[in-house]
Amino acid sequence: MADEDRISIGSDSDLVVARQKGRELAGQLGFSGTDATLIATAISELARNILAYAGAGEIALSHVFENGRDGIVVVARDEGPGIVDIDAATNEGFSTGRGLGMGLPGTRRLMDEFQIHSEAGKGTQVVVKKWRGRARG
């Protein structure tokens, strides 16, 4: 993945930077204003998750080509405590932090693809993608 734009997340203000960069990249890639807002909102949720559960981490943004289509990929990485029960964390209403129960399920709904890898004690990586010009689902 070339041209990855990385934003380190350590405070609330980084969250604003990350979603602005996401919106910019989405615009450059030809996403509509509405899609750019969905992407920025997803980045906001992922960055908040990093802050709430790991304290620090990073968001990486890049352009992705796959099977003749293109889109944006957002990777949220942290070296926090990890998520023990991923199924629960991606379900509605589940939260062990500061009332962010909608964070991961909300992110999943905003984007087209959602993958999460987490290991207790090692950290969490969430990868989300949105394809350009496709029906939302």
Binding site: D12, V16, T34, T37, T41, S44, E92, G106
Partner: protein
């Protein structure tokens, strides 16, 4: 300051210009609760037209602010949710249940005025 509170007659208008940090959200919530009492306000308008993203945290915070105002005896209305932001809120499955909304500041004021008339202006 990313947020300011303006006293307009018997109403308070809280404008949120840009993304608030957790601390600022709590501060704004406190300020609204306190100023509703100090100015004996009957209504609070939360103007979010400056926000280009409303995520689940901010959505919950807005809900909390509106309920706080209500518990202090002031009617609260959120105005200025941008169309694409409204779409994102729906897509995430969030609801602002129990919270009044209006298109913009003008509609928000009209709503508070109507509400004041219906319930009568005396007795406080």
């Amino acid at each position: 300051m990313p947020a300011s509170i303006l006293k307009q007659g018997e109403y308070l208008i809280a404008s949120i210009q840009s993304a608030l940090t957790d601390g600022e959200v709590l501060q704004l919530q406190d300020d609204i609760a306190e100023q509703v009492g100090r100015f004996r306000s009957r209504g609070v308008i939360l103007d979010v037209s400056g926000l280009d993203v409303i995520d689940s945290f901010v959505s919950r915070a807005l809900h909390a602010m509106a309920i706080t105002a209500k518990l202090r005896g002031a009617n609260a209305v959120i105005v200025g949710i941008r169309p694409e932001v409204a779409f994102a809120i729906v897509q995430m499955g969030l609801t602002l249940e129990g919270v009044r909304t209006a298109l913009d500041l003008e509609e928000g004021l009209a709503f508070l005025n109507r509400w004041g008339k219906e319930t009568g202006d005396s007795g406080r």
